[in-house]
């Protein structure tokens, strides 16, 4: 068995980046995710794998560094927390429009504004419904453990290159700061320039006489061309929904009620499920692993056997809207959320659940 190391979710992201063949990390410090860049700087991967690590002057700059690196067909990533992500939304829109693969990690804190550095899940809309301008989507992965923080780096890159689209890891302060054991996966080497030229024929690797120039742009002033581009993007997002929905269901087979929760809240709700089962309540947990594409079909499939669903989030009810869309009015969809960085205990969630079904 591979060595198991105790590390924070944030540290796991950094180690995963080095070990999965990432070419470049560009970032700007912000709590609660600064350990990611700190760990990378400490590890000095430029001495080993040749990975570039650079502290940028702002999040605006780091996301645009991703645009440059991704244009070259390189595996590039950044990480930040909520206010930083707001600054990156311009860049994300351009990256999506120019169909560039990259990985963005958001270790979410409470907002709006400067908010709190404590955990939050209020960036769900920003991550899943756009954030930047225009019609675009990203694959959004929601890790619930340090191991998933590690594993989703490689998965995020895989999906980014599969779709030529930005991928996002939407974590939270709990998953970022919590230490758990992490198994390091086998080292993958970085792609060679030859492999990039071969596998990413669109990349700006230098125009040779053998091919036409490559231009990376999101600009299309011709109306017909631009509409076509948008349709290409929509097709891509549909494919994500067909091929890459990921979720975990826990004790849902016989459930009469199901809690939907992601990230740290899914861990807490798992304990709530255990409590409910001890009291003979048939409660299950659906944990979306991809927030986009959302497990709409799975919810749709479950609804006939259920009496109610409840979305539990560290927000005012954002994922709730997607749950309601999937349920489509057939059963009550309840909500429990805490704000301000307050993470409810399993008991509090259980109380809220019991209240919701008795109303």
């Amino acid at each position: 068995m591979a060595e198991q190391i105790l590390m924070k979710g944030n540290e796991a992201i950094a180690h995963a980046a080095i070990r999965c063949g990432c070419d470049g990390y560009f970032g700007y410090p912000i709590t609660p995710q600064s350990e990611i860049m700190e760990t990378l700087m400490d590890e000095q991967p430029w001495e080993t794998t040749g990975m570039v690590v650079l502290q940028a002057e702002s999040e605006t700059s780091s996301i645009n560094m991703l645009y440059g690196g991704a244009s070259c067909g390189k595996k590039v990533m950044t990480s930040s927390s909520s206010p930083g992500l707001s600054l990156m939304c311009e860049g994300l829109s351009y990256l999506a429009g120019a169909e560039l693969p990259c990985l963005v990690v958001n270790v979410v804190r409470g907002g709006p504004g400067l908010g709190t550095i404590q955990p939050g899940q209020g960036d769900y809309f920003q991550a899943c419904k756009g954030g930047g301008h225009g019609d675009y989507r990203m694959v959004v992965l929601a890790p619930a453990s340090a191991q998933e923080m590690y594993d989703f780096v490689d998965l995020g890159f895989e999906l980014a290159f599969k779709y030529r689209n930005p991928s996002m890891i939407l974590a939270d302060g709990v998953v970022g700061q919590m230490m758990e054991k992490v198994e390091l996966r086998p080292m993958k080497s970085r792609w060679t320039n030859e492999e990039i030229v071969k596998n990413m024929p669109w990349a700006t690797t230098g125009k040779t006489p053998a091919r036409k120039q490559n231009v990376i742009t999101s600009l299309a002033l011709d109306a017909a061309v631009h509409e076509r581009l948008n349709h290409t993007l929509i097709e891509k997002y549909k494919r994500m929904e067909d091929e890459d929905v990921r979720f975990e269901s826990i004790q849902c087979e016989d459930a009469e009620h199901v809690i939907v929760a992601y990230g740290c809240m899914s861990r807490i709700c798992e304990s709530t499920i255990e409590m409910a089962r001890k009291e003979g309540i048939k409660l299950g947990l659906l944990r979306p692993i991809t927030l986009f594409p959302f497990p709409t079909k799975e919810i749709d499939r479950m609804v006939p056997q259920l009496k109610s669903m409840m979305s539990v989030e560290l927000s005012t009810g954002q994922m709730l809207e997607d749950v309601k869309l999937a349920v489509n009015g057939r059963i009550p969809v309840n909500f429990y959320g805490r704000l301000g960085g307050i993470v409810p205990s399993p008991e509090e969630v259980f109380e809220a659940f019991k209240k919701s079904i008795n109303n």
Binding site: G24, L54, E57, T60, N64, V215, T217
Partner: protein, 253 residues
């Protein structure tokens, strides 16, 4: 004698570099962009670096630079070209990477990106077209607009009390340790164009030597924005722009 008899290789006195595409430029007649594009393309041809050069185009009139210079291009968000260039050069140290930016792009919205790229001494080339106006959006005031100059957003002339003084960003850039070569040139006549070409070549050579950032400002005309004929625009530039933005090297080491 028929025209066909004249078009022969031995009679040719001038040829367009093959690095320049045959696409008709969208720039207004009299605009400096076309000349600067040609100079860059010629330098790329002469240095034999077409396969190794990656250009970063801005937002502004030069957004379509990729239609005219036949190399690989990345089109950046407004002002962010130096960030793209930073990553591209660091991930491809063997390549020549340059940004091509106007005054609104470089000296207004992209001030942070250009300052920090230059301060880090990224081994890139920056071509900065300063025509003291926003051309593409229809002639609004730029950070480099002269005092008293009328634009769409300073219809009574730029008032320093309202808008501040023209930003001499090239002078600031020259102060940064990361830059190795900072120069201000123009392309309003053959002699100045030749000098600008030499400056661009030096900038690309510096990049291969790893000396730091090379920054070439080209004080330019926007005759449409300035509402002048091409010839008058050149005259106006010499009379008004040159005193504010004097020609010559600010730094060369």
């Amino acid at each position: 004698m028929d025209v066909k008899d004249i078009i022969k290789p031995e009679n040719r006195v001038y040829a367009k570099t093959p690095v320049l595409t045959s696409t008709t430029m969208h720039y207004c007649p009299g605009c400096s962009h076309g000349t600067v594009h040609k100079l860059i393309a010629e330098v790329i041809e002469e240095m034999g670096i077409q396969e190794q050069t990656i250009g970063i185009s801005p937002v502004g009139c030069a957004v379509f630079a990729y239609n005219y210079i036949d190399i690989d291009w990345q089109q950046a968000a407004h002002g962010r070209a130096p960030a793209l260039a930073t990553a591209t050069k660091r991930l491809h140290p063997e390549k020549y990477v340059f940004t091509y930016q106007g005054d609104g792009d470089l000296a207004s919205i992209g001030t942070a990106e250009i300052m920090h790229a230059c301060n880090r001494g990224e081994n890139i080339v920056v071509i900065f077209i300063n025509n003291a106006i926003y051309g593409m959006t229809g002639g609004q005031m730029a950070p480099t607009t002269l005092i008293g100059m009328k634009t769409a957003t300073s219809p009574y002339g730029r008032d320093p009390k309202l808008h501040g003084q023209p930003l001499k960003i090239t002078n600031l850039i020259a102060q940064l340790e990361g830059t190795c070569y900072v120069t201000r040139q123009s392309v309003h006549n053959a002699a100045s164009a030749r000098k600008t070409k030499r400056a661009i070549r030096k900038a690309f050579e510096n990049s291969a030597l790893g000396k730091g950032t090379s920054f070439v400002e080209v004080v330019s005309t926007c005759n449409s924005g300035w509402k002048l004929s091409p010839v008058k625009a050149n005259e106006w530039m010499v009379e008004n722009m040159f005193p504010e933005y004097p020609m010559g090297d600010l730094k060369d080491r």
